[in-house]
Symmetry: C2
Subunit: 456 residues, 2 copies
């Protein structure tokens, strides 16, 4: 092991002697954990040379440190930070349960990492150093064009100049809020039961948040009260947490009111491409002509969440605000990531991967629904035609108790109140099928049925 070369700030004219300054600084570094037990330090000769002090000074400093137990000087082997300062172990995820129906993360077998690995070799081979050069703020033109072509298969018209590559749907949402604020929007309306982070994000952007009822009629009725200083955030397809989908007619109605009353819509389509049933409802963005919709998409949610790559299709009128907000926060997404996703789309890898994910989710959702229905006829739920969430209600039982009992049976689920606008009690929990491969779904279902059945 090569000894660590250290820059230690010294003050030549200080009243504190140099050997004391060295000792004090090393004590700070060891106590803070910057230098951990076992780290090899330079010998007194190297230390003296590095710091421009005499060897006596260096030796004095080390002697003091050794006397106080901070370092071990081992004859002929070197000088080491004392082992009692060994690295604290990184804490493991606590209380992780064997069956994870809480997380929205895809199960490993669906993640196309071999393909990405091959692609990374390819893009470095083809583009060399350019892969590490900064991309334009809105993203690489080639990727934005590929995203427009992909959106076209869903019937969504877009100009590639108005496409922005973002670090996941999350950054797309954050930047949307910033852009909306700069256009005078004051309030963002969310469904009551929604993705919980949206509340803290809108708040930190300086927006007020209000809730619309979750059912379709409720949303449409509320829209009549919105005006041009409002925005409406929707997950219209296979919603989080309820799995619900707004109908084609419902979408038309919402768009019509938005165009008339002049409010903006943020369409979070994180799950829209994961349709496995017959029910095909086009995206709001594909239905509108008034350009009121910011569309947020991502393949990351389904295939590779850790890549952190999403995209936003932005109305022409708002593109400049979006660009500014992006350029004043984090700037462009990693070029390497953009080259990889661009290659992934251009080589036609997305569709087969999505097909595999759709097939897997369809099988899992059916197994879950059938299993629960057979074992427990008191559960109320509607089986969605896509996505990864099943929203399950057990009338007159609290969500906390459902979550708790599931956990005792080794299954993590999320209580409905976590998604509620006012953190209100519900009798529902969200079950995710994203993380559990086929055979585990069956076991988890059996455990849930037995955990919840007991209490009746």
């Amino acid at each position: 092991m090569v000894p660590l070369l250290l820059e230690i700030p010294l003050e030549r004219h200080s009243e504190v002697p140099l050997y004391r300054q060295i000792t004090n600084h090393l004590v700070r570094m060891i106590e803070s954990g910057s230098l951990v037990g076992g780290t090899r330090l330079p010998g007194t000769r190297e230390l003296a040379a590095e710091l421009g002090v005499s060897r006596t000074t260096a030796k004095l400093a080390y002697d003091l440190l050794e006397g106080e137990g901070y370092i071990d000087i081992r004859e002929r082997r070197g000088t080491f930070v004392a082992t009692r300062f060994s690295r604290r172990p990184v804490s493991k995820e606590r209380g992780k349960l064997p069956f994870d129906m809480a997380s929205g993360v895809p199960s490993p077998e669906l993640v196309p990492w071999e393909k990405l690995s091959a692609l990374s070799r390819k893009v470095f081979g083809r583009y060399g150093h350019a892969v590490l050069e900064a991309a334009p703020v809105p993203g690489l033109p080639a990727l934005r064009q590929a995203l427009v072509r992909h959106a076209a298969t869903r019937g969504i018209p877009a100009r590639w100049e108005n496409v922005f590559v973002t670090s996941g749907v999350q950054q797309g949402l954050f930047i949307s809020f910033q852009a909306l604020v700069s256009r005078g929007v004051k309030t963002v309306w969310v469904e009551d039961l929604t993705y919980p982070d949206v509340l803290s994000m809108s708040c930190s952007a300086g927006l007020k948040t209000k809730a619309v009822p979750l059912d379709e009629r409720g949303i449409i009725d509320s829209c009549g009260g919105l005006g041009c200083s409002d925005a409406l955030y929707l997950i219209p397809s296979f919603q989080n947490p309820t799995g619900r989908t707004i109908s084609h007619e419902g979408r038309k109605a919402i768009l019509e009111i938005a165009a008339r009353r002049g409010f903006w819509i943020i369409e979070d389509d994180a799950y829209g491409e994961l349709r496995y049933g017959e029910q095909s409802v086009p995206a709001l963005r594909a239905l509108e002509s008034a350009e009121r919709v910011i569309y947020l998409g991502s393949f990351s949610q389904l295939l590779f969440p850790g890549l952190r790559q999403g995209y936003a299709l932005v109305p022409e009128e708002m593109a400049e605000d979006f660009r500014e907000a992006l350029s004043h926060s984090a700037g462009a997404v990693s070029s390497l990531v953009q080259y990889l996703v661009s290659g992934f789309l251009e080589e036609g890898c997305l569709e087969p991967c999505l097909e595999r994910a759709r097939a897997a989710m369809s099988v899992r959702m059916r197994a879950l629904a059938e299993g629960l229905r057979e074992a427990l006829n008191c559960l109320v739920f509607e089986v969605p035609q896509g996505g990864i969430y099943l929203w399950v209600t057990m009338p007159a039982v609290s969500d906390e108790s459902l979550e708790q009992r599931a956990a005792e049976a080794g299954v993590s689920v999320l209580s409905g109140r976590r998604f509620s606008f006012c953190r209100e009690k519900t009798s529902s929990v969200r079950l995710s099928i994203s993380r559990l491969g086929g055979p585990f779904i069956k076991e988890a279902t059996t455990r849930l049925a037995s955990a919840w059945g007991k209490g009746l």
Copy 2:
């Protein structure tokens, strides 16, 4: 070429006939550029099947489109979007000059892309799908520990729990502003002559911006007027744009006042590791004991800007605010990028790369300074001991004229006013040696000297 499968939203109960709906939607997609000239469309049989309409309807729609010149139906070859809708070429960077002394981007030969390419193979091989799983918001523990070890070599003590991986120094700065706002900071003070984006970023975070004079005495004197609702943003080493470095004593004085008056300091150390002279000044963060400094570091500026990876060492007291701001904006940095940088550090690749960059910059800076000095004795400049910028003043000549004359000679440089707090005229320009390899520096220097010499 496989024909594109299209989802086209149809309304079965509309008064607009189905074939017209199809035509209208395709016209929108073609006119917006979503479907470009030459794209192969499905045949009428496939289209009819995909949309659930009769083949007659599909044929009627296509006939209409063909009649209006939107598509070409070629016997036995297929249906294509008309070539007059061919993709508009991506506009080239306009007015790019042959000698780039404006950009801070490293020259290709210094970018270790082969190493990153090899590492990407390695990390996928070792971690598989985990490389694509989302990292914790502050970053992968292994990377944060490696960053602490790296900071230790510069004499900076830090706990890895207070290290945050960010998308470049830029996001680090943005998140710092957010965290400071949440702690009641109202005003950020910047050097008058600084990185221009800082002004728009602080403004979009809701902070007021004020300027301190650029010289060391001026900064120290101003600090006496700052209080606990202020923050001071500094680039203390090899500053952008002036290349200036604050002395050891100056740093101590600033830290002492900050501790006494309770303001925060953001230390942007983007260039600090690129020291090639004798002058070694420790980072503010290494000198302080009061924990008032947010330290922003990055290797990206020097080696791989497009990876977008930086880090922040945050005072214990502010770590939670930082975590929140990060989690409510873009979330964690791409896991793949984090694995790569982590591997890069762990395999000891950084130090040799930095050495190479330091040696190259040292040679370039000397060549530039000597060339200018020999040819033009009216130029005023101080040669920095590190970094990539030379700040050149020609008394009584306007910066715009200097920039303009350089451009006419094929060298892009940036006028001083671009970095001025009030966009005031100066007689200075910033010359960057980052982008130009050795032989080009000489030629660029000759051109500059001749362009500026003429006007005398």
